[in-house]
Symmetry: D2
Subunit: 307 residues, 4 copies
């Protein structure tokens, strides 16, 4: 089954292995007339780029993106957009051990079980390097929905969580952990250094907040916004849990505790007639759709770090 | 976008509202030659059927399934299988209040925001009654993969969890809560009765365990087994979280703590040459595929009960 | 592979066999708020209904359609629309000969080759009776695009074609052959009677003309309007050829003979600024899209009648 | 809608414009373990390559294909295969006339009508150069079904058809027209030269014959082998007609004239128990599936040449 794609009307397909000549994405269904250049994509790849601190993989990759199709005179034409990132640092590491033995917590065994054959260099297709292609495609997707702002950050590492009261979005870009709580960022430095020196690694929780999502997006059942987000997050290597809004805490609550009350909006002119929601336990996705543009849709994913 | 379907090669599409004449599913892609009759599906609908205890909705529905196509002389023919369940108890309840006001924690507002129009009787398409069609389609799906056994149960209600040490699968069918821990079932009776009398309701956690899943099922990325399961669970009304294996606990663990070690299997004849996994933090889904048929793939979902 | 569906955003899936209890379609992705009742669908089924003349199958079926979901207070709700047509005349014909022998020109052998098992009663799923479900779904589709008018008729039977000069759309409903040329209809009566008495049958050509199709519909490549139409027509039993516009005659023509010249439209107000096309060899589909709303898109299919 | 893809389990997506830096295809769902190198693809691109005779476009392109992913140590790994062909001859032709005026018989107007914006250089995405990406993906597809042999050739140009009695497959590679009839090839030389000198062009008919197709391939309805082939052919620029087997000639025939009789196969050992078909009017696709591996499935397409 062909499954390296995400999306429906706007749809991208990624390709590439850790140690092949390149990796990339084909974005099909992008609306025409959007201003798009490599400079719109590169900052997201730069933020993701490895080798920028001692806390990530030390592989050195410029991760320069090239747009090979679908853009003419700086604007999208409605035809498929081909994005390519060349692999530069295909270090001549000896992978003979990986070729022979299955690393626990990795996909080595599973690939052999499924395909009977695998590209073992750096994990091949199962390398987290594949997410570079998602980042590039995602940068295009953002241009399609400029009314939506998406903020992502790490909210916990190794069980040590941020203090919500100290949340400052401006901090996210100021530390190597994408941490919105400066005190937590300092603690994590010690935590991750300790794990690194012990030859270990740590799990983490990533949170995303989308604001400005118009009411009514998503399908009512099956392809609900919750379901599409969960599918997207769980389709990434090592993600083992997804929560929307209160997530599992909802299971320990009552019906009325979980419900997000509405009251009529007295100022109809400035709010498009939307009701005012006085809570947001559902993460902005109740009955499948986001109930208004004043609340956020948040999803959390649990990432299991690899040793 | 057409989104009331689930699956790829084996694919079902459901239809029906709470108070329409019927609801059902069309299963396309079912292999030919399988023995299938209404008696293979009915027990699952009977287990799901409302009105059997004071703890569920009091709607009385026989939920008799009819097979309208795709079966000839007791066997599937490879053509689409149409399943229909007639609605009998469309009580002449007065829905004028629901027609006028949006119930918090329900899809009322979202349907109007998306479609500008809704069938308000019993929640229409957003009624949990839609899951009857999934149950019927799922009963057919089980016949396609007889090597896989799937066990589902409730593991917590309102924050009160079962004791894993008391887990007894035989208990699941003995109480109205599908609870594998008899002591917890007794406690839940009081808990749910209390909520019911207070006009409230409670969240719950459902756990599923699949055994016998062959190594290699699922796609390596995007449509990973984790992702397909998360999509399926999150596509159900009121589900707000999904975990595979250790789930969010993995995020508080180390790389080696999360990894599931393998050792060679000395008895190659009886185990198809599979390695022996000495832990199962990944829920049997590492690197996207299930690593062996001796372990389980477990996923948990958090269900937010509606008031 | 699940393949009993047609369409993308608006998508229907059909089910049912010639001699099962019923057949039907689930229409997913229909926009909300459309006025829809059984009376909008029934006339199309009545026109298709067998047993109305001696020239078609003598099976007697009322072909009453029921809407089982997706419509509330006479309007579509955006949820799946389930359409069901019960089979009434499941004549107790003896099918033991069909069960044993493969009829040439039928799907009997192919079903056994693929599935190893088949419902032989009346051809099972391969019966042309399946098209009743398409007709029902198509009646819904017409409501979604009211600006488009679609006219279908038979243009040739057994090699005897209509005279284009005698074309009168009002004639189509006046004879049992859907023939727009009254003289041809008289000839066909004798032709078909002769074949019928000889225990034979005749091939035919069906032509469809769509007017009012907005410029720009369809995808530029792959899912071109030509390709979607060809897929739809060829997916019907016994269709062996499809032409758009001049079809195969284009292959015997020159580039300039095939090209449809444009000239600027002096009256910009009344024609939405569309150029005026002075020919229509391409059937209104040039470069994948229909070039204007003043021309038609015609496709022809060759139907091979079964003995 | 995302539509630059073809196939289901084996699926490819193409990208690229006539005058962009490159064009290519991503093949997803290719089985693992197939021997694949650029040398398996290049001969098909070489056969298609323009500029090899005075009868085709004079653009000079080496059309070297590069495999960027999905192959390791000369074998496919089951992951997406990215194929890229760089554009070399992006001649500095002046396209200002094409930018301003719509060429009849081309997609210029339609692209503007749909997208409001187009890459006019060489037709952009609507250039027949896009078929290079299909050829590359098709070369991979052939390796997946080695039991099937596919032969394609031109059977008519400008209305001048080959003589079936003179059919010699060895001739196809010996003339610039892929013509299996040497006498016709000579005639076509004059015909095409005349058109070329007159600044004109000619339509053509392409025929394809597939042998070795196992019985049972394809879906019974909708996604029938006829329908998938018609969709594929009609999705190519300028194709306006598709026939399977007798095609439109079937419409002028009787039921028994069209039927392909079967008789039992006395030598069961050597023919897998297949019946012997004594005719092949249906092009090997009766009741949706190919009835045996001894006959061919032929489809014809009418290509309307562009001036």
């Amino acid at each position: 089954m062909s499954r390296n794609s995400f999306g429906h009307v706007f749809r991208f397909t990624t390709w590439g292995e850790s140690h092949g000549p390149a990796l990339g994405a084909v974005v099909d269904g992008c609306p025409p007339g959007l201003t798009l250049g490599e400079a719109d994509i590169q900052p997201f790849l730069d933020a993701r780029r490895p080798g920028q601190s001692r806390f990530t993989t030390q592989r050195q990759e410029p991760d320069h993106v090239r747009i090979l199709s679908g853009v003419f005179e700086g604007r999208t034409t409605g035809t498929p957009i081909s994005l390519m990132i060349e692999n530069v640092d295909q270090r001549s590491k000896d992978y003979s051990d990986v070729a022979r033995a299955y690393r626990p917590g990795h996909a080595d065994y599973a690939y052999d079980a499924k395909y009977g054959f695998r590209d073992y260099r750096g994990g091949g297709r199962s390398s987290a390097r594949e997410t570079a292609a998602r980042v590039a495609a995602g940068a295009v997707a953002r241009l399609v929905i400029p009314e939506v702002a998406i903020l992502g950050y790490v909210s916990a590492i190794g069980g040590d969580a941020i203090d919500p009261a100290a949340f400052d979005p401006a901090e996210i870009a100021r530390n190597p952990f994408f941490c919105p709580d400066p005190a937590a960022a300092v603690r994590w430095e010690g935590l991750v250094d300790g794990a690194r020196k012990a030859g270990s690694s740590l799990g983490a929780v990533v949170e995303c907040v989308a604001t400005g999502v118009p009411a009514g997006w998503g399908a009512p059942l099956y392809g609900k916004l919750d379901a599409e987000l969960a599918y997207a997050m769980m389709g990434i290597n090592a993600v083992k849990g997804v929560e929307i809004g209160d997530g599992f805490a909802a299971a320990a609550n009552t019906g009325e505790g979980n419900a997000d009350p509405m009251r009529p909006n007295p100022d109809r002119s400035s709010n498009e007639g939307l009701p005012i929601f006085t809570a947001n336990h559902a993460g902005g996705v109740a009955g499948a759709f986001r109930p208004g543009n004043r609340w956020w849709c948040a999803w959390r994913s649990s990432r299991r770090h690899r040793s």
